[in-house]
Amino acid sequence: MSTLETPGGGRGRLIEEAARVRGRSLWDDARARLLANKAALSSLIVLGIIAILALFAPLLSPYGYDEVMFDRITIPPDFSRAHWFGTDGLGRDLFVRTLHGARVSLAVGVVATLVSLVIGVAYGATAGFIGGRVDELMMRVVDVLYALPFIFFVIILVVIFGKNFILLFVAIGAVEWLTMARIVRGQTISLKEREFIEAARASGVGTFAIIRTHILPNLLGPVVVYVTLTIPQVILAESFLSFLGLGIQEPLTSWGVLISEGAINMETAPWMLAFPAAFMAITLFCFNFIGDGLRDAIDPKTR
């Protein structure tokens, strides 16, 4: 029994030393693997550059995003007048508009994804952890929502509430959280059966504490991966809605709006399509590469 009692001074020193020995957490491992993945690393850098450009766009160019110049309608890229990407049909500078569109598109992507993340994780974790009839009921609701055709759903919303910026988030968020909820529920159910959860229950740890200390941290991995793959989907969905004229309204712009305009003038002014489309394609590629990289990094066994 003596070894269990108050230890001598030697152990105190050991514990202090221990504080300095840091373990390699699974996150540290994942970070190292992610940074070793060339595609993911370059995607991160490219995405970072696009984000910085989007933030500081107005400072780089002398023109405003809604500044109409009737003497400069539809001119091709012209470096002497600082129209690096040319101008559109109203003489607005396309460089500024493309980066402004990047702001809106990225913002919609991130915000709508966060909304779907919060709803999806809360909903899925609750259904999965409680289980039984509650789970059945909650997941049937998800199935029903899944079955609704997305465009039909959006058109109904537009008809009822009129065109509205907030509506965009609602419409996209309402669809994207469903998959998140399913993923989180599945993960929660498999986690719940794991022995370390049983060990915690056997020690008398309460339900809420188990969810907070064991379930959520272990959900984080798959959720982070899914988030990075959801952002490009949301960006795509936004541009699709904007393309149909249901999304962002003028003079505000997004990549979807710009591509829509560019597509109309594709034959006479190809630059109007090329630049926004290139930016969007590169961004989507980057997110997908990062998502794949994260998945490999967080769970190297599932490759």
């Binding site: 269990l4 230890p7 152990r11 050991l14 221990a18 020995v21 229950r201 020690s203 008398g204």
Partner: protein, 328 residues
């Protein structure tokens, strides 16, 4: 007689299994069906059985990780089989468990220090951070791990070391009874011996009782004072370890003993083998009477008609067997 800590009587755990067909009623899977035994202070009770014998279900029922269908689990005079989770919480520190899979029983996202500290935060919330760290460090030291490991993560350890962490987590609250559910079964031979010796040492130093559950009769014999032989959710034989192995009353125990290989060719090749026919029947549809009768070399008509009672059959009152035609 030493103090009785745990008294399990007529424990039943049935799981509903959905029947085949649309309107079929759920049928009960009788995982544990009328098991009784006691555990005294400081002793080791070995529970041995093959897959489907219900040995792990017993452990989980005692800890209320699943709810008993019937029977009593009396811990120091209190029946805990019916207690609410809230009323049970203060008793939980006395009863701890060590699992089979060392890595799976540790949360991969937590540091070793946090894992071992977790039961302590529940059992003794009044401890200061400093005191808790001291206790965790002392416990790690006791199970043979350097206290410097506290900030490391489970995946940085080998299987044997992970099992030491699992033992530290179970022992840190100074429980009175620890259930070892196949605690050494997934370990390599050389590491298994380390862990067995560690468990024996901790038991001695802390005055613990152990319920040691395993399919490996050699290990159970080595560590246990008494052995309980389980088959299809029922007790076949229960008695002092040396008597159960040396003078097995029940034909199932005898067959089990003869099936266990001995690591010595000179002995192993000369041993008589009692080969049992067939395999364990489904617990959804157990045989009538004695559940072992379908594989028993001594089965007679009476075995199908009448469930044998678990009673002393030989000279020793503590040595019980549930058989109509025991080997005496």
């Amino acid at each position: 007689m030493r103090e009785t800590l745990l008294e399990v009587s007529d424990l039943r755990v049935h799981f509903p299994v959905r029947g085949q067909g649309l309107f079929a009623r759920p049928r009960p899977l009788r995982a544990v069906d009328g098991v009784s035994f006691t555990v005294h202070a400081g002793e080791t009770l070995g529970i041995v059985g093959e897959s489907g014998s219900g040995k792990s279900t017993i452990a989980r029922a005692i800890l209320r990780l699943n709810t008993p269908t019937g029977g009593r689990v009396v811990w120091l005079g209190t029946d805990i089989a019916r207690l609410s989770e809230h009323a049970l919480r203060p008793l939980r520190r006395d009863l701890q468990i060590i699992f089979q899979d060392p890595l799976a029983s540790l949360d991969p996202r937590m540091t070793v220090g946090d894992i071992v500290a977790e039961p302590l935060t529940v059992a003794e919330p009044e401890l200061t951070r400093e005191a808790r760290r001291e206790r965790v460090a002392a416990m790690l030291d006791l199970v043979g791990l350097s206290p410097q490991m506290v900030n490391r993560y489970p995946h940085e350890f080998s299987g044997g070391q992970c099992q030491r962490i699992g033992i530290a987590r179970a022992m840190v609250v100074r429980p009175r009874l620890v259930l070892c559910d196949e605690a050494v079964s997934s370990l390599d031979v050389s590491i298994q011996a380390q862990i067995i010796n560690l468990l024996k040492r901790l038991q001695r130093e802390m005055g613990l009782s152990l319920i040691f559950i395993s399919h490996d009769l050699s290990v159970v014999r080595h560590i246990s004072d008494r052995i309980l032989v389980l088959y299809l959710g029922r007790v076949m034989e229960l008695g002092p370890a040396e008597r159960v192995i040396g003078l097995a009353h029940h034909p199932y125990t005898a067959a089990l003993i003869s099936a266990v290989p001995v690591p010595d060719p000179a002995v192993e090749r000369g041993r008589p083998r009692l080969l049992l026919e067939g395999e364990i029947p489904s617990p959804l549809d157990p045989p009538s009477g004695c559940v072992f009768r379908t594989r028993c070399p001594k089965a007679q008509a009476r075995c199908a008609a009448e469930v044998p009672a678990l009673v002393p059959r030989g000279t020793d009152e503590a040595h019980l067997a549930a058989c109509h035609f025991p080997n005496i």
